[in-house]
Symmetry: C2
Subunit: 260 residues, 2 copies
């Protein structure tokens, strides 16, 4: 799996909390290879407090005496920077570079390198980088928290890897014939309760149809709206008393309704 | 400016450090309206430590007794969730929703709502949300740090706003005639030093051309490569001694060269 070939390299991080937070971000985005170049004394207590699901990444991290050593087996070496001045004008965004990172990680190792919290990557670090990543940010506040910077890069790589499948609605978009049954029931209801006359019905129903057409309308949605209209008509017809057993709609095709 | 119409709403955040970190993320991404719904006692010292460029956002935050109050003037209300179960199946990613958020922020206010660190948004909170945002993450570790979750949403909105102009190379891509002058100088040099014979020259120059064609080659790049070849030829011709004043190339069209 190519995400396993992507190494996060932190150069001389100062705050343990940030290192822990980096580990959590990596775990969230499916990465696990963490290297620390030129390590300082790290507050491991703080790091462990922030690592959460990234605790194994934190414990498995490797220290290297130099950045050169930390990236020596990596093909692509991408240095993240907030500044874009001399030596940084060829910087590209994480979104632009993500496909290139994954392509390289398919056959070799890739390093994403982040400098210390106070000054970022120096030119001495940057010279080892084949690419410069500039993380988009407001001109008024361009310096990101270290873990935030790592998170954004990992996120772009993770998304580009295509491993994430988002939520999907179980209920398909309602076909026309189902929608028409619903509108027919609502038309009858709105006539019954005197919301409109027969001669205004088309006009009003255009309005109702427009409201319900603004977004996707699933089969479950149609069943809810149809059930509501039927239940109201039943209530009007029967007045006070028990509703019929099959009166309510089932909004989730199996669950017990919105109040379950 | 429509980013000013986008409010970050934190429901009962627990850790001051996270709130400060949220403020910094907002500042980085050009947002500044922070609301806290159902606030708990907050460690403001921790918050201020993490806020950095977001300190004004932290001080200007507004507390609301309920989520309903915090979002009452907002058209779109988007709730962020890591889980996608009941009531969350229509969730969409921040990238998918970002254009919709900006469209709504053009004419009205939009709230992005995030639950407390331990449990996220409850169904009681979610009922106020017109949309559900699911932040992409690994199945093995889907729970994000609160500030990381806010950062990713703000980042997507900021990028979609088109306000970020990335680094641009001042030097344009080199035109063919400039490249050809460079290759001619290198061809002479490689013949001079005996790297190739005249009968292998075409074969070797195909190799050199391929190396230099793999990526974009700017006019500055060509000047560096041409300068190197010329300088070497001069050195070979003159042996030990001072190089000529105009021998070195100018890699950045005005700066003092790579060692400046």
């Amino acid at each position: 799996m190519s995400l396993d070939h992507i190494r996060i390299v932190l150069v001389s991080p100062i705050y343990g909390g940030n290192v822990g937070s980096v580990c959590r971000a990596m775990a969230n985005m499916g990465l696990r290879d963490l290297a620390i170049a030129c390590p300082r004394d790290l507050d491991l207590g703080e790091a462990r407090k922030m690592a959460c699901a990234g605790h194994e990444i934190l414990e498995a991290r490797r220290d290297f005496p130099t950045l050169a050593a930390a990236v020596s087996d990596c093909g692509l070496v991408m240095g993240a920077t907030a500044r874009v001045g001399l030596y940084r004008q060829h910087a590209a965004s994480p979104r632009t570079l993500a496909p290139r990172i994954l392509e390289a990680a398919d056959t070799g190792r890739v390093a994403l390198v982040f400098g210390p919290e106070d000054h970022g990557l120096s030119n001495d670090d940057l010279i080892f980088c084949t690419h410069v990543i500039q993380i988009p940010s407001s001109k008024a506040a361009s310096s990101l928290n270290l873990a935030h910077a790592v998170m954004l890069c990992c996120y772009e790589v993770f998304l580009a890897s295509g491993q994430f499948a988002g939520a999907t609605e179980k209920s398909p978009e309602a076909p026309s014939h189902l929608r028409e049954r619903m509108f027919a029931v609502w038309r009858e209801l709105l006539l019954d309760v005197g919301f409109m006359d027969e001669d205004k019905a088309m006009h009003m129903m255009f309005g109702v149809r427009r409201i319900l057409a603004r977004g996707k309308l699933t089969e479950d949605d149609v069943r809810i709206m149809m059930g509501i209209a039927r239940q109201i008509r039943w209530k009007i017809e029967h007045g006070a008393g028990e509703p019929p057993d099959d009166g309510g709609a089932d909004p989730d095709g199996g669950a017990d309704g919105p109040d379950a």
